[in-house]
Symmetry: C2
Subunit: 383 residues, 2 copies
């Protein structure tokens, strides 16, 4: 299978750094036990790895309190946990981007059946695919935001949200801000100290280059604590029928996935060694090459932000005369190129671009190279 050109990194980055595979396998064989602080040696080693991984993660986003990292099994679960954990009696106006993922949109839709709030879509320019920062203040002041859920990097357009600018404008209203960093953490420099963000969601298996099975959120909030959502054993305080009221443990019921945590640990160490700046730089060069080559093709439409400095890694496109599914199928069958076709779990995007048949999504990772992009272009030319 090594001759497959993998351009589906927004689904999950693949391959992983060699150290991620190695350390996961090695640690799980040697030490694949249930973690615990006051138990036997192997269990304490597992626990130390969890603590170290929390530290690596907070270090990556420049905060220093490891107990603010809450691990979950996926970013979807993290978003369910955060959104269900909010006090909805105080939330009337919720803002999202037109590109939000179903991990956010379906969860909000689910909660909207129980609670009375309005979902507003932030004003994005449908030609530049960018946040209309000028319209922001007048729009927000009409319906003051209580909660804002936005992706740092869109999994459809590759747009890098100007989060500094957005949170500065939002600060007048002091809403709860959830930033979905599934497509950004590890790829884009994030300084949570400087951002007025309450919850930063991460997915181990995407731009963090770790495995499936480990994700979560960093609680950067000074507002009220989240209510419990998933409850169960914590290996501590067993006779208490309530969850122990200690962060992060009160939000982490059940056994820790120590193999996945080992993988994430190795992945963050790889990122820090390689440096976020250089990972970004390499992927940005590949992205710019991909875009400039695609723009040479006839009959192609690409859906990326106008300001290329705000664009990374992901290009959704359509080709005249072909459905997105057909393009993806032919690339797969004839050319051994892996991309995705469809709506990319972003239910509002098709209304935003007025394209109802879906798009082809090409998404890059650190381990792609220029030859692969040239091969993709040749393949598209020979469709």
């Amino acid at each position: 299978m090594s001759d497959i050109i993998y351009l589906d990194n927004a689904s999950t980055t693949f391959p992983k750094p060699e150290s991620v595979y190695n350390f996961m396998d090695e640690f799980y064989r040697k030490n694949g036990v249930n973690a615990g602080r006051s138990s036997h040696k192997l269990s304490r080693i597992a626990n130390d790895l969890i603590d170290d991984t929390r530290r690596e993660l907070t270090d990556l986003v420049k905060i220093n309190n490891k107990s603010r990292v809450v691990f979950t099994s996926s970013a979807t679960v993290a978003l369910n946990q955060v959104l269900n954990g909010l006090d909805w009696s105080t939330i009337k106006n919720v803002y999202v981007s037109p590109f939000e993922h179903n991990a956010i949109m379906r969860t909000l839709h689910y909660l909207n059946k129980k609670f009375d709030f309005v979902i507003h879509i932030l004003d994005f320019n449908s030609e530049t695919f960018e946040l209309n920062t000028k319209a922001l203040k007048p729009n927000l002041s009409q319906n003051m935001p209580d909660l804002v859920c936005v992706s740092h990097v869109s999994n459809v357009t590759g747009y890098i949200l100007p989060i500094e600018q957005l949170t500065e404008i939002l600060s007048d209203y002091n809403p709860i801000v959830i930033l979905d960093c599934a497509q950004s953490m590890g790829l884009i420099d994030i300084d949570l100290n400087k951002l007025n963000i309450d919850y930063a969601i991460f997915a181990g298996h995407k731009t963090l280059y770790g495995p499936f099975g480990i994700a979560g959120y960093i609680n950067n909030s000074n507002k009220v604590a989240l209510k419990e959502f998933i409850v169960g054993g914590t290996g501590s305080d067993s006779i208490n029928l309530n969850m122990p009221e200690v962060e992060p443990y009160m939000y982490e019921a059940g056994s820790y996935n120590i193999q996945a945590i080992a993988g994430l640990n190795a992945a963050i160490k790889w990122i820090k060694q390689t440096k976020v700046y250089f990972i970004y730089k390499k992927e940005k060069e590949l992205t710019d090459l991909l875009v400039s080559e695609l723009e040479q093709l006839d009959g192609i439409e690409i859906y990326i932000p106008k300001d290329r400095e705000r664009h990374i890694g992901i290009v959704a496109l359509n080709i005249d005369g072909y459905s997105a599914e057909d393009v993806a199928r032919v690339l797969d069958e004839e050319f051994n190129i892996a991309v995705r076709a469809g709506h990319h779990c972003a239910p509002y995007f098709r209304d935003f671009i007025n394209i109802y048949e879906g798009t082809v999504r090409v998404s890059l990772g650190y381990f792609n190279d220029k030859e692969q992009i040239k091969y993709l272009i040749e393949s598209l030319e020979n469709l």
Copy 2:
């Protein structure tokens, strides 16, 4: 670390069969992508592995509809999903055993704050540690059961619940029955066709000898469908803001943990090759040896069922003059033996046995041997 005697298999079985480590590592390196039915080759291979694992699992419990397997990331999440998914307006009386795990007890306690129901403890004999089947009918008829949540094998006493007998008696009342098979599936022969059970919970990393990160439930119910609990992207039907109404996908939001599923796949194949009967037989012989040796020791109390045919794998104990924590600590520090001390996430057990300081739990797995048990006994003698 290979010189550690691991007797903490009820927390997680360790080590795993060699094929589990090998296949996980191999599959994840070659094919570690996001699954999908109508996508590129690697994605379809991942999807086929998921389907095959569902089939292996249903085959193990002798049913034939693979779409009734719902994967979650842990048995805790599975129990949260099932319990939160029930229609609580129709549930007034809930029955549990005195040994239930906090994955059940804390979840019921959490739901009890929202919904009006009563938790009853099934009548167990505090000397034999066994279900009092004679008292069952009179007790149940006083408060007719709407929901029964019980562990197939107790993670504290190693008691094998007479589930055939229990479900037969329960059938007069037609309650919803949730059987927690975390400590039994793969170790004890289960035929879901013959049991009046609605949801059989499994944990990949325990008696199924798979890894952390994959668990779930088998929906064996003909009653109403569960409501959604965790929602999000499903890689299908993206423009629908509701979850697709197709089992099992409507209950499986987010990316599949393909590495863990690969591990579970290899694990079930190993179980079927080794045969459940022989795994049980080997563990039973070790259990009987452990019990008979422990019974020779002075000043020891063990908390196991009187009928030894209903006992497997797990022995909780206390030694006169030592706290459980001290015994576990000395075994760890002086003798390199890994056991657990505490309440084992079973909040009602201490009231049941009137021991408030916890117990030491020794728990066996397929890869333990007689020499290890003899070494444990010698170590306890030299405490």
